[in-house]
Amino acid sequence: MKATLSLACLMLLACCAFSAAAHAGRSCDEKPPTVQAVMRGMALAERTREALDASGQDLVLLARVGQDLRKYGVHYSHLGFAYREPDGNGGHVWRVLHKLNECGSDHAAIYRQGLGQFFLSDPFRYEAAFAAPNQAWQQKLMPFMRDNQRALQMHHRPYSMVAYAWATRYQQSNQYVLETMAAAMLPASASRMKAQAWLMAQDYEPATLRLDALTRLGGRIASANIAFDDHPSEKRYADRIETVTADSVLRWLERSGLGGGAQSIALSGAGR
């Protein structure tokens, strides 16, 4: 019995050691992409540019299906801002401002990228959607796109993929977009708390993911970029994880009348 318990303790320690290593973050996979992934990623970038040009908008929310979240009832996994920028030669390009978690670590950074990079990320499906806030809101958001200091105003480095929508301990990618949208409607230098209060007043509703205790424990142990300690206990223990999803933001934009409906773009045979 004593030996058995010792063995179990040893295995538990080994498990904890593994967990600690995972929390330190993993290195990025340097495996080169397939030719097919480059061709399809760039093709979707081109199709998206054509659709954005035809839309007549200056700034939209752009979503992609980076990962398969269907079992959580979520379609689009990641959201960024796409905005029109003069190219210096009388034309324009589209740039994407978004937040990326770095290689499964517990932190994230803000990037300004091209549409090509946005879709060269080996997405689960070669499918995108965009929706435009109203024109007045677009113009208020433009300084947040072009001025790096303002682009970082709502950014918070500690990251959890399932960050609670109404807390400020962590911030995930879609939450950064949503809170920056709110900041554009608030006095300069507003805090994340103020942004969340504004969003609540505007009747934004986060998605509720049903994650049981085992799933939560697995996520926490296996990944440095998943934490649940910012969620209120009563919701967490009722398996209700309320977080900002791209789907919930796109739905709210249309429902609130603050923007238009989402338009989707997909390549045929869109799956990975």
Binding site: A3, T4, L7, A8, M11, C15, C28, D29, E30, P32, P33, T34, V35, A37, V38, M39, G41, M42, A45, E46, R49, G66, Q67, D68, D87, V93, R95, N101, E102, C103, G104, S105, A109, I110, Y111, R112, Q113, G114, L115, G116, Q117, L120, S121, D122, F124, N148, A151, L152, R157, S173, L211, L214, T215, L217, G218, G219, A222, S223, N225, I226
Partner: protein
């Protein structure tokens, strides 16, 4: 007792691993494909008439088989001299950075060529080793990190 406890432990660990949302393909890997796909540009050579950008004749047809005839280090990365197997047409491309290409390609290596609307994908054994954007491709590519 011992067997029961070990079975319980193994089953629990397996269940935890299977249940983990991290098993989904993570947005965290979003940077990996990019960092592993070096950009390249053409050096000199004759362009295909009427093309959007200066893509040389040797790289103008999808499915062409190219052979590496020289590999040289440059200030920005690696210069490859490529020769089209069908007619001997040549092109020099500079791959920027410490790309996969620079590390694994040698004289005699066989390279594939795929022409798409935004540029040319060079590949080896089905893996993309470099992308040569044309004007359309250059407008779609930009990479700037604003915070650390």
């Amino acid at each position: 007792m011992k067997r029961t406890l070990l079975n319980w432990f193994a089953a629990t660990m397996l269940a935890i691993a299977a249940a983990s949302p991290a098993h989904a393909h993570g947005e965290g890997s979003a940077l990996s494909a990019l960092s592993a796909l070096p950009m390249a540009s053409v050096i000199g050579g004759s362009a295909v008439a009427g093309s959007v950008a200066a893509i040389p004749l040797a790289l103008s047809v999808s499915g062409a088989v190219l052979v590496v005839t020289a590999v040289e280090a440059s200030a920005r990365g690696t210069v490859l001299v490529l020769e089209r197997a069908s007619d001997g047409a040549r092109a020099s491309v500079e791959i920027v950075g410490r790309g996969v290409a620079g590390a694994s390609l040698a004289v005699g290596s066989v390279i594939g060529c795929s022409v798409i609307g935004s540029g040319v994908v060079l590949s080896a054994a089905g893996q993309a080793i470099a992308f040569i954007p044309n004007a359309i491709g250059r407008a779609l590519l930009h990479d700037e990190q604003l915070s650390y």
